[in-house]
């Protein structure tokens, strides 16, 4: 890239690793991105200044010779692009980010990460990471599938991994997906067993397959419970026969809309709630506290009892999705030269997904429930009990 373009195209704050200091070109990034990133890294002013100096120097020296001098521990440079949620979404972006950092720490490298503020930033962000000489680019979320596919085709020498998407088949792309329906199935069974009103509820943020897979598995678990125990526990918010009519808040903000939705479910008599979608469980927690009723909640993605103890007395259990571990493994393997394009699917069998313990509810649930859950898990793993989802049709 010619030096003439430097003054307008560069983002000072974006440079995070030393190898990249010399080639701080962020091609085609939107102004908004540049601004926000600059603000975000305002605290790293020192590094930014360094980066600018290096950039000026970069005009003279060839930016191609990277990674030769300061490849202290590994030649690998793992990188990551978030989706619009950002790395602090307390959800899958954050989990992926933590997994990447864990792996990078072990490898002794500094990963390069870019947050996307909108869908239009996906492709420019990926191409800027390509320019940073990343060896592995992890894109977080199925929303980035198109951008990842295009970048992977254009850069066959770079390895890609995409979380929550299985649509790409290419030699240099590893899809990382999680069949959370199995874990949600267990939680649905537990919820049906615990519910006193005989009504449980689930709703999502928006109609995305990664959201509805939880709702779907949960409803199947309740249905299985009804069949096994000849009960009639109802699921509100998700109809197995008509999944298109499921309930969504219309967004992933923990605001009054999410709270009112939870209240409406409580008004219908539900006493177990499964809100699926980033932070919307916080609004549900408030609605439960305000109702003053004996209502429990099922967490999603990580064990919320541990990760967000604000409402810990409300969590019956959590449905676990091992994004962090899986990302860590994939990054570590790729750095060791063991990259494969074979999809990783987290299941109950490989502990990629699972159900957390009952924590405070241990004394309140049926004494035999944990045993039944363990049996059920074994049956799902062996295939005796079928759980369907968009990943395992």
């Amino acid at each position: 890239m010619p030096c003439a373009g430097v003054s307008t195209r560069v983002t000072l704050g974006n440079v995070r690793n030393h190898t990249a200091l010399r080639s701080a070109f962020i091609a085609g990034q939107s102004l908004e991105d540049i601004l926000s990133k600059t603000i975000r890294r305002a605290a790293m002013g020192g590094i930014a200044t360094l980066g600018f100096a290096a950039l000026l120097a970069g005009c003279a020296s060839a930016p191609a010779e990277t990674g030769s001098t300061d490849a202290a521990a590994s030649n690998a440079l793992p990188c990551m692009v978030s989706d619009a949620g950002g790395f602090d979404d307390k959800s899958f972006n954050q989990a992926g980010f933590e997994g990447l950092n864990d792996a990078a720490k072990k490898l002794g490298v500094e990963p390069v990460t870019v947050q996307s503020d909108s869908e239009t930033a996906f492709a420019p962000n990926i191409s800027s990471l390509v320019d940073q000489n990343c060896t592995l680019i992890v894109t977080v979320g199925f929303a980035l599938a198109d951008a990842t596919k295009a970048a992977a085709e254009a850069n066959s020498d770079i390895e890609f991994a995409i979380i929550d998407d299985a649509s790409i088949t290419a030699d240099n792309v590893k899809p990382i997906t999680f069949d959370t329906a199995g874990a949600a199935f267990l939680a649905g069974y537990a919820a049906a067993d615990y519910s006193k009103s005989g009504i449980v509820a689930t709703w999502g943020g928006m109609n995305f397959p990664t959201v509805t897979i939880f709702m779907d598995g949960f409803a199947q678990g309740v249905k299985y419970y009804n069949e096994q125990k000849s009960k009639d526990v109802k699921v509100l918010g998700y109809d197995l026969d008509n999944p298109d009519s499921a309930t969504f808040t219309g967004g992933f903000e923990a605001n009054d809309v999410a709270k009112t939705t939870a209240q409406n479910f409580i008004d219908q008599g539900a006493d177990i709630l499964l809100p699926v979608g980033g932070p919307i469980y916080q609004s549900a927690g408030v609605a439960i506290q305000e109702s003053g009723k004996d209502i429990a909640m099922v967490g999603v993605d990580s064990d919320l009892y541990e990760s967000d103890p604000t409402y810990k007395d409300l969590y019956l259990t959590s449905i676990l999705k091992g994004i962090k571990t899986a990302t860590d493994t994939v990054v570590t393997d790729a750095a060791a030269g063991d990259f494969s394009s074979e999809p990783y699917v987290g299941t109950l069998e490989n502990d990629g997904v699972g159900m957390a313990s009952f924590h405070d509810f241990e004394s309140k649930v049926n004494p035999s429930l944990q045993g039944e859950i363990d049996d059920l898990k074994a049956k799902i793993v062996s295939g005796d009990v079928k759980v369907s989802s968009y990943l395992s049709k």
């Binding site: 709703w203 009519s245 808040t249 009054d256 209240q263 479910f265």
Partner: protein, 434 residues
Amino acid sequence: MTIQDAPLQHNHPDSVPPALEKTVVKSWKAPIAFGIFSIIAILLFVVFGREGVSGFRLSTDSDFVQIPTIEAPTRATGIVLTVLLVALAAYSAFLVSRNRPVRLWITVVFALLFLVAFLTWAAAGATIPVPGLLVGAVGLSVPLVFGALGGVISERVGVVNVAIEGQLLAGAFVSAVVASVTGQAVLGLISAMAAGVLVSFVLAAFSIKYFVDQVIVGVVLNVLVTGLTSFLYSQVLTKNTDLLNNSATIRLPRLPIPGLSEIPILGPVLFRQTIIVYILYVAVAVVFFALFKTRWGLRLRAVGEHPQAADTVGINVARTRFWNVSLAGAIAGLGGAYFTMGSVGSFNKEMTAGAGFIALAAVIFGRWDPIRATLAALLFGFASNLQSVLSIIGSPVPSEFMLMLPYLVTIFAVAGVVGRVRGPAASGKAYIKS
């Protein structure tokens, strides 16, 4: 944003020569609209009517007076109500053909009947908790009403307030932090107003002193506040949640008003709320009264309609605009406090989720009138919560369509009821004293 070239209306008696003949404009708009909705009613409630029993629960568990749940046979009720709707549509057509106006009460009754018929149809085999539906509707409307009041004041004085979203978000953020750190609800509310005022200061300074395009300043402010609060949330609040964003200390308790809160249906909806909602009731009344009955209101409107004339009679246009835009920011900021202190209890990134823009729409739909803007905001809140309740009780309609419902209802209401709107003449125009 405003219709600046609206033709002059002939409402100046002294400028019009004595009428020789009274002309009556026949407007078939109402009968046609009623006719369309009657056809929908016939199709939905009669032809494709659903069997079963529709329940309407009128009491909450904690009510002193318990009213039994009303149960109505779905199809029969639908047929009866549809007959009434068709009769009303025919009556309005009759009135228009005789050159008589269709009164507002006919529209209101028609809308209510249609709503009841629709609810009955949707609730076949289920029960709609009426107080819950309305409580949620009011809850969703509160920030919209605050934002709309701020918008009305600001636009009436001649400054387009696109920054309502930013004012709401700033209020939400600052009130959460202040209430969390100090543990004082009053300080939280005051700081929310201060935050709204600060956003307004920027808007006022740029648009009044430096004549920058008001819409552009507003849009930029929204982006700025969104970026700033998101940054601070990620970098500061999440690292110290217990101190800075503690929902236990932030959230306000509900204060039931003794006596009034026991009124069936209305009690739980209006009088078991937080202090912010009670402030809202007062604010709507005060703004309405002050805007149209006081010297302050007259001057404010004069500046927004014809700043030059106001200036000629000695009103300081710039100062009037500056302080009233600030006041608008304070009101909108208080609405922001509802998100954190009144509702969810903790701040979240971009938690206003576009409420400020809906409030802006309510200002225009409400014809720059505080009461009408409030009603527009309530309509939107009601439609939003109706969507949620219907989805939960098992409506067969796909969820994406349901999520459009509030916006569809608002568009229909505006097109059908409001008609042509004319904003304050000088709104959006910088006043350059010559």
